[in-house]
Subunit: 143 residues, 2 copies
């Protein structure tokens, strides 16, 4: 059986301290695993790791020169309980110097969302969906 798990999402970083600071400035908490070398943040259902890109490539045995695309093809979503939180959070990201990609707006699927990118173009969506169900850890189990 192949367990259906995403235990860890690792973002390969060109500049770990800069990217770490971005997530620290969001008010997110690191785990005890974090070191000077890399950062591991607690989230509701998956650990988020910021890891040196070169070592991440090496760990997978990949040889790639440079990754420089405006969008990497993967979106991370922060789903919230109340519609008002979408605008509040996008504003807080803005206050922390985050790059707002799309201001909050009502979405075609009946909710509301806005988008930002971290300093290395990882795309985040802040979303409210009227039908989201969360477990006691705040992990979304359905929507």
């Amino acid at each position: 059986m192949i367990p259906a798990r995403i235990s860890l999402v690792t973002i390969g970083a060109k500049n770990v301290p800069q990217l770490r600071k971005f997530y620290q400035d969001l008010g997110w908490t690191e785990t005890e695993i974090s070191s000077d070398y890399y950062a591991v943040f607690k989230t509701s259902g998956v650990l988020l790791s910021i890891f040196p890109m070169d070592d991440l490539l090496k760990d997978a045995g990949l040889e790639v020169s440079e990754i420089s695309v405006p969008y990497k093809g993967v979106t991370f979503s922060i789903n919230v309980d109340e519609i008002a939180e979408v605008d509040l959070i996008i504003n807080q990201v803005k206050d922390r110097g985050g790059k707002i990609i799309k201001e909050p707006s009502d979405a075609s699927w009946g909710g509301r969302n806005g988008h930002f990118m971290d300093p290395e173009n990882n795309l985040w969506e802040v979303a409210w969906n009227p039908t989201s169900i969360f477990n006691e850890y705040g992990a979304m189990v359905s929507f």
Copy 2:
């Protein structure tokens, strides 16, 4: 407060049916949210969505032509409870036609891991870490 959450990981797909089939063939279960248009798989701590790339770009207001890089800079990890599962799972992925990027080997950090890619070059790591701690949903809370 900006909630520390990854509620959903969305992979932008060029070919949704092909990518959906890959994850179905792993034995993973879709949620009731899934439709002909896109697939949403249940995992232990975060929902995994396979969504048409063009619409994902549109939803974020991004204008990007084509994304074609050998590695996107993000790795998803499946962390397991027993060291033997790493080799078993990589073999199962191989049997299902998955692209093995790195055969299982002992890792410098004291565990064991192997890597595969789905048909659109999204990188997955199967890892055993002797110090991993999981919650009752199978979500990794520390390692």
